[in-house]
Amino acid sequence: MSRQSILRADELIRLDGVTCAYGSEAVLSDIDLSIGRQQFSGIVGPSGSGKTTLLKVLLGSTVPRRGAVHRASDLRIGYVPQVETVDWNFPVTVAECVLMARTRGRMVPWPSREERAAMHDMLSRLGIGDLSERHIRELSGGQQQRVFVARALLGDPQLLLMDEPTSGVDARTRHDVLHLLEELNRAGTAIVLTTHDLNGLASHLPHLVCLNTAIVGQGPPRHVLTADILERTFGAPMEILEHAGMPIVLDQYSHLHGNVVSLRKNAS
């Protein structure tokens, strides 16, 4: 159910008691979440915790079984899929891919002069202006990510949704992506992303949502990256250190070491 009448002025989307299920198994349970106009949030949680489903509820491609989704009227949303889900053998150049954002309106295959200029301008802003005629597979991980960001931004979104934007990329690319997203957010685009990367990405974001089917905690990283919330989110004990005012999450392997030692003893 999608409504728009009871949003606050600074809200883009609000979820009230949203529950999603595949068959009888709940993937999201009773989610209350508000996305503001200047928000920059990360959704963290283990595999199967419902991160992508939550993103798709925000996007509108998944309809909740229960609860309500309130959207601002004429809300424009850009979506950047997880790179692992993209068909890299599909025959599209960077230009063709980015111009998919302009699917509606024009009824001829080729782009107008204005569309072509907007596409080149967007690619240049993202530092890949000279790659428009390349096939999408012929790019580095960071460049591929930027192509889909460009496609999302060409639709002039108020809200950018990104599924695992730093999955499978190196540290340099991760820094580039984070820097790019900070710039976009400063320019007025709300951003919600999912990530597994607690130290490399999540701890740098202004707001986090810890998810494990239900929301376990949400707020600034210093408030939610705690041993208690992370253990309830990931189902494993974690240790939190602090460096330069930022939380650093460490897995606690000590209980596992004990098991490994006992197995070795049994084997010998």
Partner: protein, 279 residues
């Protein structure tokens, strides 16, 4: 030599057959791009067999075969689309279940009620040399209509084929786009089935698109190349069938397969060259 090459053009049946083979080749090449990129290469084979069930039903009911088989084919295509969109089972399995069931129903109807009406052998293996002017006009009009649909819906079709979920969320009515594509596909198969026969349509859908994919990384270029390769295969195959005195359907498919082999070898060499350069 030139006289020998031009001699078949003196016969009207050959000219008709050549036009239809070339236009049908272009049509299948164009539609085949979407079939291949959606991972539904088996659908040409499956739908042509499903339409065979429509032959049987239309013969028994005494209705026009094009109408009966057409409605049957479109219904089968829409059923495949509906089952696939539910995402419980894959497109390949949906095609396998629905089209073989339809084919089996056609065979059962024959077994129970016997063969009546139109020659079913022609439906199975095609009869390109028996084509008259009305067939030429019909398939040319159909090809123009399909080209217009793909021209107008180019952007929606591309987005839906590449990234259906994001396309849907971006406001593209993907259910309609998919249904339109299946309608176009079923109609194209029905029209070209008389030319190529049930058994060879799949090749004319898949081979041109596959050859084009090996030659380009651009979607727009792939559409144009596949259409041209389909038309070329039809034209050359039809001429070869006359000069070698073989059936036109297999001749057209073998020309396409020959092109595939040449392009596969050539693009393989091109890709290996940088690696060889490193050593």
């Amino acid at each position: 030599m030139i006289d020998r090459l031009l001699r078949p053009f003196e016969f009207e049946f050959f000219r008709n057959g050549l036009i239809v083979a070339t236009v049908a080749g272009a049509l299948c090449g164009l539609v085949g791009v979407y079939v291949v990129l959606k991972g539904m290469s088996y659908i040409g084979h499956g739908l042509s067999h499903a339409i065979f069930g429509g032959f049987a039903a239309s013969a028994l009911l005494g209705i026009n075969f094009v109408l009966g088989a057409g409605v049957w084919g479109v219904a089968s295509a829409l059923m495949i689309n509906g089952v696939t969109r539910r995402r419980v089972i894959g497109a390949d399995a949906a095609i396998g279940v629905i089209t073989t069931a339809s084919f089996a129903l056609g065979l059962t109807l024959f077994a129970i009620f016997g063969r009546r009406g139109r020659s079913f052998d022609a439906a199975l293996f095609g009869s390109i040399l028996g084509i008259d002017r009305s067939d030429v006009v019909a398939i040319t009009v159909l090809t123009v209509v399909v080209a217009i649909v793909i021209f107008i819906g180019y952007r929606q079709l591309l987005f839906t084929t590449f990234d259906p979920e994001v396309a849907e969320a971006s406001g593209v009515r993907t259910a309609w786009v998919d249904a339109t594509l299946m309608l176009v596909l079923a109609t194209s198969i029905l029209a070209t089935m008389q030319v190529l026969g049930v058994t060879l349509i799949a090749a004319t859908l898949v081979i041109p698109a596959t050859v084009a994919r090996m030659l380009t990384n651009s979607f727009a270029h792939m559409l144009l190349l596949a259409t041209a390769i389909g038309a070329l295969s039809g034209f050359v195959g039809m001429n070869l069938s006359y000069h070698l005195d073989i059936q036109s359907g297999p001749s057209i498919v073998l020309v396409g397969a020959g092109l595939f082999t040449v392009v596969f070898a050539a693009t393989g060499v091109r890709r290996r060259r940088p690696l060889l350069g490193l050593t």
